[in-house]
Amino acid sequence: MIETINLKKHFQVGRNQTLHAVDGISLSIAENEILGLVGESGSGKSTFGKTLIGLHERTAGDAFFDGLPLPQKFTAKDHLRYSADIQMIFQDPYASLNPRMTVLDIIGEGLALKGIPRADIQEEVGFWLRRVGLHPDHMSRFPHEFSGGQRQRIGIARAMIIKPKFVVCDEPISALDVSVQAQVVNLLEDLKDSLGLTLLFIAHDLSMVRYISDRMAVMYLGTLVESGPSDAVFFEPKHPYTRLLIQSNPEADPILERSRPSAELTGEITSPINVGPGCRFADRCPEVMPQCKAVTPQPRLIVSDHQVACHLYDQT
């Protein structure tokens, strides 16, 4: 359904400085699959999602939707054309809804653009409000009258009313309380099953990503370090970075936490400006070898569908 080959997004920052936000990502998402994309802030995961669906112009590489190439730079016409199939749900339910529009106008905007009569839009918006657990009476209200979780559901209804095939969810739950996160995650899973959706689920909460995703991909400084079936990546991580990421992920289980060694990952994510060759993780990696700083590791398949970009897995 979705495929990217060596997708790159660089930003020019000042003279002769290039920020390699996304630096050669090749991955694919099968139909009706949820791919979870994890990584620390600054790893480029949001930029990847936005570049994929044309919110940023690609610097290099290819992107395909349903087997057809997506344009490198989306024109206004492209946006209109692809918005019927591709939608996005944003992180901040406060900033992503226009405070001057009613819920009816927000959710129904996509249909209005298609020239659908207002009475039909009202009916459809009422249906979707019920579908996401709100009440049709809410359609005349404004965003400020809703809680964060309710707003996120308005954002979901706005995306889903178009009946898209592919939805990018950019940190859809990180602004929500735990009890509300589960409501939103279950709703997304439900919609995926009933509408046959394909989802790119971008988040930093590893446990939640493992829970909702079929496959999981891990980004570090603009590169993909590991990808595979969620449980394989989570329970048998191959890349040293993935291992440390999962070790740092706290569990709601005090006995398990007491048995855990203290944090091993020292240092912090470095700057993606003007990067040289070699593995991006080399300077923090506990298993670093000489070739790591010289040669960029290429992704290779370790077991079926589980790939990793690390020199530890060279030859063999």
Partner: protein
């Protein structure tokens, strides 16, 4: 025995006057902290956890805020309602505090070194030179690399994790016996979070500093705390040791939070069970239990009368504010049954 607790808070109530009416943000909270203890106060946004500690520190804006009742005693002496001068004596010196967002908590126009030195000069009367030497030691203690160079840098030159370390260094300047950490890792990545939590644990185990950790994240609680208070709608609904809270949850809200979170303990994926609805409006808190409207086990009495805190005489620190713990209440699956005796109710 006979010693004072390090901090003892009883029946603390805080209100805020707003255009929409009076918000009863904290409604009768009791807890205590021993020397060298890590106590976590956990709850969702709006439950009153931050207001509780901010009231103790005397940093809620008054008005609109108003402490309507209760007391907070530090080593036996009252610290609520002190005048500004007296409050400055214990703030920073006896109790240090760090916040969620270190970027807005530090002065952007002063170097990190100068900000730490300021605390030392004010509270300990040190000279600029002495203060800057100690500031450098503090940065080393909080594991900031290249401490000497870092002292002369400004907050914008620090990453989020390093800023939080600098905040901790500043709060340690006067060797407080208690550190209040309000969501200290919420804005940080998981790998940096692990480093900061380890640093806090180290300060507690090596230096015997007590810590109150305010968080919404049960996993952070499990990793860091010894004792836990669970707050909901301005009240403590369950308290106990970290193991009691996680393995013998006695309040349906605690249980609900656990069931709403994904667990990786086994590879099986248990379906998440969301808590329906949202917390009550604290403009007019319900007369019954604050959680009744969302509770799957609510009985008639739950909507009418707020339950007292039931505690277990065999595990005296474990207590839950729930009618299901009352004598003769129906047994509920998954809920730990306290062997009870009702403590002070309201």
């Amino acid at each position: 025995m006979g010693m004072h607790k390090l901090l003892e808070v009883s029946n603390l109530s805080v209100e805020f006057e707003t255009y929409g009416g009076v918000v009863k943000a904290v409604r009768g909270v009791d807890f205590s902290v021993d020397a060298g203890e890590v106590l976590a106060i956990v709850g969702e946004s709006g439950c009153g956890k931050s207001v509780t500690v901010q009231s103790i520190m005397g940093i809620i804006p008054m008005p609109p805020g108003k402490i309507t009742g209760g007391s907070a005693k530090l080593k036996g002496s009252e610290i609520l309602g002190l005048d500004a001068q007296a409050a400055n004596q214990f703030r920073g010196k006896e109790i240090g505090m760090i916040f969620q967002d270190p970027m807005t908590s530090l002065n952007p126009t002063m170097t990190i070194g100068a900000q730490i030195a300021e605390t030392l000069k004010v509270h300990r009367g040190l000279s600029t030179k002495q203060a800057s030497e100690i500031a450098s030691e503090l940065l080393i203690r909080t594991r900031i690399p290249e401490a000497q160079k870092r002292l002369h840098q400004y907050p914008f030159e620090f990453s989020g994790g390093m800023l939080q370390r600098a905040m901790i260094a500043q709060s340690l300047a006067c060797s407080p016996s208690l550190l209040i950490a309000d969501e200290p890792t919420t804005a940080l990545d998981v790998t940096i979070q692990a480093q900061i939590l380890d640093l806090l644990k180290e300060l507690q185990s090596r230096d015997g500093m007590a810590i109150i950790l305010i968080t919404h994240d049960l996993a952070v609680v499990a990793r860091t705390a010894q004792n836990v208070c669970v707050m909901y709608a301005g009240q403590i609904v369950e308290q106990g040791s970290v193991d009691e809270i996680f393995y013998k949850s006695a309040h349906p809200y605690t249980l609900g939070l656990k069931l709403a979170m994904p667990s990786n303990v086994s590879q099986q994926n248990k379906k998440l069970e969301p808590i329906p609805g949202s917390p009550p409006d604290l403009f007019s808190p319900p007369s019954g239990c604050g959680y009744a409207a969302r509770c799957p086990h609510a009985m008639r009495i739950c909507h009418k009368e707020n339950p007292p805190l039931f505690s277990d005489p065999r595990e005296p620190h474990h207590a839950a504010r729930c009618w299901l713990q009352a004598p003769g209440a129906p047994k509920t699956e998954g809920l730990h049954q306290l062997h009870l005796i009702a403590s002070h109710g309201e």
